[in-house]
Amino acid sequence: MTDSSLAHRTPLPRWQRQLRLRLWQLGLLLAVLLFWYVMTKPGLIPPMMFDNERQAAFFFGEPGQVAQRIWAWFVTDADIYRHLRVTLPETVLAFGIGAASGLAGGLWLALSPTTSLVLEPYIKAFNAMPRIILAPIFGVWFGLGMGSKVALGVTLVFFVVFFNVYQGVKEVSPVVLANARMLGASGRQLLRYVYLPSATSWVFSSLHTSVGLAFVGAVVGEYLGSSQGVGYLILQAEGSFDINTVMAGIVVLTLFALLLDSLVGRVERHLMKWQPQAGETQKL
């Protein structure tokens, strides 16, 4: 009944639709948290899958405890900052270096067919390889400090950006290209004014994936050997079966990944304003 009446109602103004969407999203989050709370709170409901009432909390943590842990990290104890000061720069460096070198490499190989033919099997091999296995080697090469984590993140980010840029340059419209050449563009100008802008939409789609991979590089690197960082924190907590702290670490990392992703999205909206929005009716 509500469905049919919805279809005939005049559409709500944009901000109201936005608000309604946000409320639904918030509601979903609250529902999940409530479910988590109810299922793990000792003594609230009789244990269904476990032997006693504390085991659910032991395996899955408790939302209240996790929130307290985060609060302690950031406010009362304020001891997470030195870990963030390691993990975040590792991530941002891996992301920046990986994306820049991927962009440069993709452009270079797409524009020089001979080189790309020569390198093709090696690139395929590097891409197919599970590059996480390089982490121990990077540990030997760059030590247990930030260097090895950045290197791992770079190898993860590079290929995603590289393949997208390569594809993006290959997809440049031949007519647009011929037109720019007839208008007198030199090789360098073609690169700057045609290939690069044309590849940007591909670059950005790869950057969103890369944000997550940069965090993977940093955290996995820290798992395998480090003395500080959020990954180290999580590993320590796991060693003493402190699931609440592990969960808190996951939440903190996710929030920062979202933050970095939204920064990428903001730059993207600024640079890609020439692209038609879905459903936009501005044609004349």
Binding site: S173, V175, N179, L183, G184, T200, K283
Partner: protein, 270 residues
Amino acid sequence: MAAAIELQQVDCTFAGKDAASPSYTAVQGVSLTVADGEFVSVVGPTGCGKSTLLNVAAGLLAPSRGAVHIFGEPLQGLNRRAGYMFQTESLMPWRSARDNVLAGLQFRGMALDQAHSLADDWLRRVGLGGFGDRYPHQMSGGMRKRVSLAQTLILDPDIILMDEPFSALDIQTRQLMENELLALWQSRKKAVLFITHDLDEAIALSDRVVILSAGPASRPIGEFAIDLPRPRDVAEVKMTPEFARLHRAIWEVLRDEVLKGYQQQLQKIA
């Protein structure tokens, strides 16, 4: 004085993709000249290699055999004295109308504010005065064609190559654009090589109409001087008896080729 464009015995053969698919000869033994300030149209059935000829004149495509001279000089690489208006979308979608129009000036290293005012001037001339900030996707097909026209003409090329530039437009917009093109051409006479499959358009615009035979291995099979008085209005000139006479004469030659081209296409499908 040397002709603006001179093609001598030009052949264009495209290599097959692999050994199994044979090579394809698009045009064979084409000789064609366009004098400075002359408006020449090339008509022919679909798939007869009209665009191939234009790409040869633009320097985008090297002929397999034969010579190309531009104002008496043999053509090497791109034809720097020519502007090219493409059949399909050729605007850079990430640039606004103004930035598209001034692209050629920018490539030549002109200061941006100077290029800006020139571009705005040209946008006004093609009837898009207030639309400089729009992106191509925000404009209609006709408006995009106007931007393309301004983009080509702003560089003041000595030769203008046009590949069915108005074929995607509706008939009214098309007549408007044709009249605008004629007015612009009338004010500064350039050599124009105009490709079309529309005989009406060819006669209404041109000084001379060249007819290409059906492909493969097309070649010119007829040539008609169009001595209709100028300035012309594209819609009105089509009503004159003189136009009808020319149309009949050219169609006599073209009809067989169109039928031939149609038969070949049917066979290709079968």
